[in-house]
Amino acid sequence: MNNQEKLVLAFVEALGVDSSVVINDLKYQGIVEWDSISHMVLISQLEEAFDVSIDTDDVIDLSSVAKAKEILGKHNIVF
């Protein structure tokens, strides 16, 4: 599984949405499924999938799929 597929799977599992929904423009609270509770689960899924620890400030900053890629980029995850 490549990094893009891992990222999509993390979103699908955390938010309970179809993979087609997970596009760069998808934003936090942009759909009902991405609320504050599922956001916490999402962070956990991303950390587990990529074996990283996301900083508290980045947890708050992770406001879209594009931003998630940018933050994971800090941990040398390339998309």
């Binding site: 916490m40 956990s44 950390e47 587990e48 620890s53 508290t56």
Partner: protein
């Protein structure tokens, strides 16, 4: 009751925190212990690991300092020490009437009792989410629940913990993370020692069971809230005070 669990305890080098560490070790929990006093923590680690088949990791943390807390959590997560239970025990009690209250005492009280608890809880979420559940036990005080003359700063800091517990329990319940608080009464620790005889007499007469509480009394209630015995209990504030009336 806690075999296979990992517990993080703040303020673990003495008093109630130490009693909790000892009881949890006896019940099979591995421990992550925070305190400013690393010398005492080293002795505690040695003693507990000799006495029980558990692992103990110790961290010199100044709970008033968010950088110090973050540094410890970074080490914990780097070592993948995901834990199941957080006991926010570290606390300070500085008695003062409002008029005589010094700014330094106000800051120290709030940074330790309130901010420290909030920071540790926030940073623990990563662990609980990974474990798909957890239990946070916050140490408040009967003073926070009932109030006491000359303790408006300490009392308000402990009342903040009650409010924090109630709201956070609602926020985290869908994630199977339980949050409860204890409100100990007059517990015989270093924090309550060094008072004159009249002070003890007055307090004893207000305790229905006519004895001071022991740190172990609080530890037993903490164990209940940490264990699966309380797995449907969240958002509760439980008094450990022998029927004390304020």
């Amino acid at each position: 009751m806690l075999k296979g669990k990992i517990t993080l305890i703040t303020g673990a080098s003495k008093g109630i925190g130490l009693a909790i560490a000892e009881l949890f070790a006896k019940q099979g929990s591995d421990l992550l212990l925070f305190s400013r006093n690393i010398v005492d923590l080293k002795k505690i680690k040695e003693k507990l690991e000799l006495s029980y088949p558990i692992k103990v990791a110790i961290f010199q943390v100044d709970i008033r300092n968010v950088s110090s807390i973050k540094q410890a959590f970074e080490t914990i997560y780097a070592d993948k020490l995901f834990f199941d239970i957080l006991v926010n025990n570290a606390g300070v009690m500085i008695d003062s009437t409002l008029q005589m209250m010094k700014e330094e005492a106000l800051l120290s009280t709030y940074e330790t009792n309130v901010y420290g608890t909030i920071h540790c809880s926030q940073l623990s979420l990563k662990s609980f989410l990974r474990k798909k559940g957890g239990s946070i036990i916050n140490l408040s005080s009967i003073i926070g629940a009932k109030g006491s003359s000359g303790q408006s700063i300490y009392g308000s800091s402990k009342a903040a913990i009650i409010g924090f517990t109630k709201s956070l329990s609602k926020e985290l319940a869908p994630l199977n993370i339980r949050v409860n608080a204890l409100t100990p009464g007059f517990i015989n620790t270093d924090m309550t020692k060094g008072r004159d005889e009249k002070f003890y007499e007055k307090n004893l007469s207000s305790i229905g069971m006519r004895r001071l509480g022991k740190p172990e009394d609080v530890a037993k209630a903490t164990l209940f809230l940490a264990s699966d015995m309380s797995d449907y209990i969240t958002g509760q504030i439980i008094g450990i005070d022998g029927g004390m009336i304020l």
